[in-house]
Symmetry: C2
Subunit: 353 residues, 2 copies
């Protein structure tokens, strides 16, 4: 597949990806190369990465604990200290090999170490391939609040190698697939139709490519999320709150990002229907599709109240009002909608039905 | 004094400063305004600031502990959390009212909160007026290593109000004055001559202005410190190491930044003499001037060894070699000089003599 040129840096695929990275290393003459991994990617991805980079490739690995709960400043401190202890300097490179936690956190660590060193993202999960690896968002969570601390900064390049997906279980793939379906909902009705027919995750290459093109198209028009880019947040206002809440100590099972935003998309689909008249038929289509792919989560009234309480921390909010992205129809989106709180309960009722 | 236009944002002086900030607030319609202070500026500067901003000025203060030892990620965490708890959003403004710790840390906190909110710097110490308030460097220390974590980002504006200097003691003023003398050494022999004659800190306005012009001239040509800007680091390679070391638990008194770089400038002046032939007469002039203004510090052999050991963490280093800025003559500087380690001991001997 052809490389995709983004605002800052390029996305390369498969074998070309390794080749281009080798060229880049030769060209830039980095003083040292570090690879950030977690215990999963250290075991399942690093050997393949190293093999593909060839024998002369010299690097030091830095390992952190896997999982969203470690995507915080404490983990950044550990990585900064290790970089410092291993004499990383401003001409060093950090390669982030892993899922969204690794690319988001690693991107932030690199962007702030000695006021910024180069980094390269090698996403290894479906979610990070289609979402976290592109768009220049880096960051970590602050307590339960997702991505509260971060900067906009772009990797030198992104390597998308779908081979790494073979290390993932079905649940992980499903989670990433939810983001891809979101790309259809917000920007392309025909892509949504295509994805609906996907019932195996064996060969996702061309769909990954399509998702990346859609996302790149959006973020290149609005890199700092002033306007258009906000459409990528469809399903994420509730989705982030549900994800955060599910990771706290309560009755809910801890949800993956895609599992949470799948629910968020049903809830915000409902709001779309009530606020700007998304057709009932399309709303039902969205609900049917996500409930087919994801188990229903059983929210109590208390859960709903807590989740609604978390909405006020959403980064898109301004002046105390909660801003939602809503669908006019599948493939067409409207940003900055203020929604009366009364509808929140209704949306959950619709989800539960 | 006329405003100075920088690459990103403007420096305003005295009464015009408050006026311009009021206009800016009116224009931008920030959702909320926060002011970062420490216990000193909360008491000695905030009342004056508030009085000058007028009765309609509505803000929330966030207070941190004063001192370089609190310029770390833990303090950032506190400020991020307070911003979050007080519902700061992306349309909020942070005003940093204080010395270099407040402007460096506050700039970093603002640059990373929700991937970046606007900030304004109001330096209240001489050091922060002539140095930290300009040039887009934000950051915090990592353990004893100074400014290891940070980003390049510029405030919306900088307000320089020399009235705040009346709250400082002689030692603080002296510390800031060392940075001003550095501006003479690296870029203007005539300014160095002028400053040598200053024996009272009563009315520094026009000297502050001159220092800001010199620094702005340099950083606007090289905002990311690729080349020219490095000359601002004269005296700082040893200076930072000495400052860091003096704050640890040992025999040395804790030194202020300017006190440490004054020593650094003598040491690096000596290296300049040995490496590129800075004239002995000029070297003696530098030493005489700084030893007149600052008490000699009594370094043991062990101190020297420890300080030399810290040099390897300097952010300017690449590929393991320690890069120094040296003077060809007073007012003329050469960057990226690799200095044999044997000369480090000699430099300290020269300082002690």
């Amino acid at each position: 597949m052809d490389a995709i040129t983004t605002n800052n840096g390029t996305i390369y695929f498969d074998d070309e990806a390794y080749y281009k990275l080798r060229l880049h290393l030769k060209d830039r003459k980095y003083s040292k190369v570090f690879i950030l991994v977690d215990e999963n990617t250290a075991q399942h991805c690093l050997p393949e990465f190293r093999a593909n980079m060839g024998g002369k490739f010299d690097f030091k690995a830095i390992q952190i604990k896997s999982g969203e709960i470690h995507k915080n400043i404490e983990t950044c401190m550990e990585v900064w200290k290790q970089l410092s202890d291993m004499n990383a300097d401003r001409r060093s490179l950090l390669i982030n090999l892993g899922g969204g936690v690794i690319t988001d956190l690693g991107g932030f660590v690199a962007s702030t170490f000695k006021r910024g060193i180069d980094f390269v993202n090698v996403p290894t999960t479906l979610l990070s391939m289609v979402d976290a690896s592109i768009g220049g968002k880096t960051g970590v969570d602050l307590g339960v609040l997702k991505n509260q601390i971060g900067v906009f900064n772009n990797p030198e390049m992104v390597l998308v190698v779908p081979d790494y997906l073979s290390t993932l279980d079905k649940r992980q793939l499903n989670s990433g697939f939810a983001e891809m379906m979101k790309h259809g909902l917000i920007a392309s009705g025909s892509y949504w139709m295509t994805l609906k027919k996907v019932d195996s995750f064996e060969n996702l290459d061309k769909h990954i490519y399509e998702s990346l093109k859609i996302k790149n198209d959006i973020v290149s028009q609005d890199p700092k999320e002033k306007n258009l880019r906000k459409i990528l947040n469809f399903g994420h206002t509730f989705g982030h709150a549900i994800e955060s809440y599910s990771l706290e100590d309560n009755n809910l099972p801890p949800l993956l990002h895609g599992e949470a935003i799948a629910i968020g998309m049903i809830l915000e689909g409902y709001l779309s229907n009530r606020i700007i008249g998304l057709g009932m038929h399309q709303l039902e289509d969205i609900k049917a599709e996500f409930t087919k792919r994801f188990d229903k989560v059983d929210f109590t009234d208390e859960d709903v109240e807590e989740i609604v309480g978390l909405l006020k921390f959403d980064k898109k909010n301004t002046r105390g009002s909660i801003n939602f992205v809503v669908l006019k129809r599948i493939g067409d989106t409207i940003i900055d909608n203020k929604i009366p709180k009364e509808l929140f309960q209704e949306a959950f009722s619709y989800y539960k039905d």
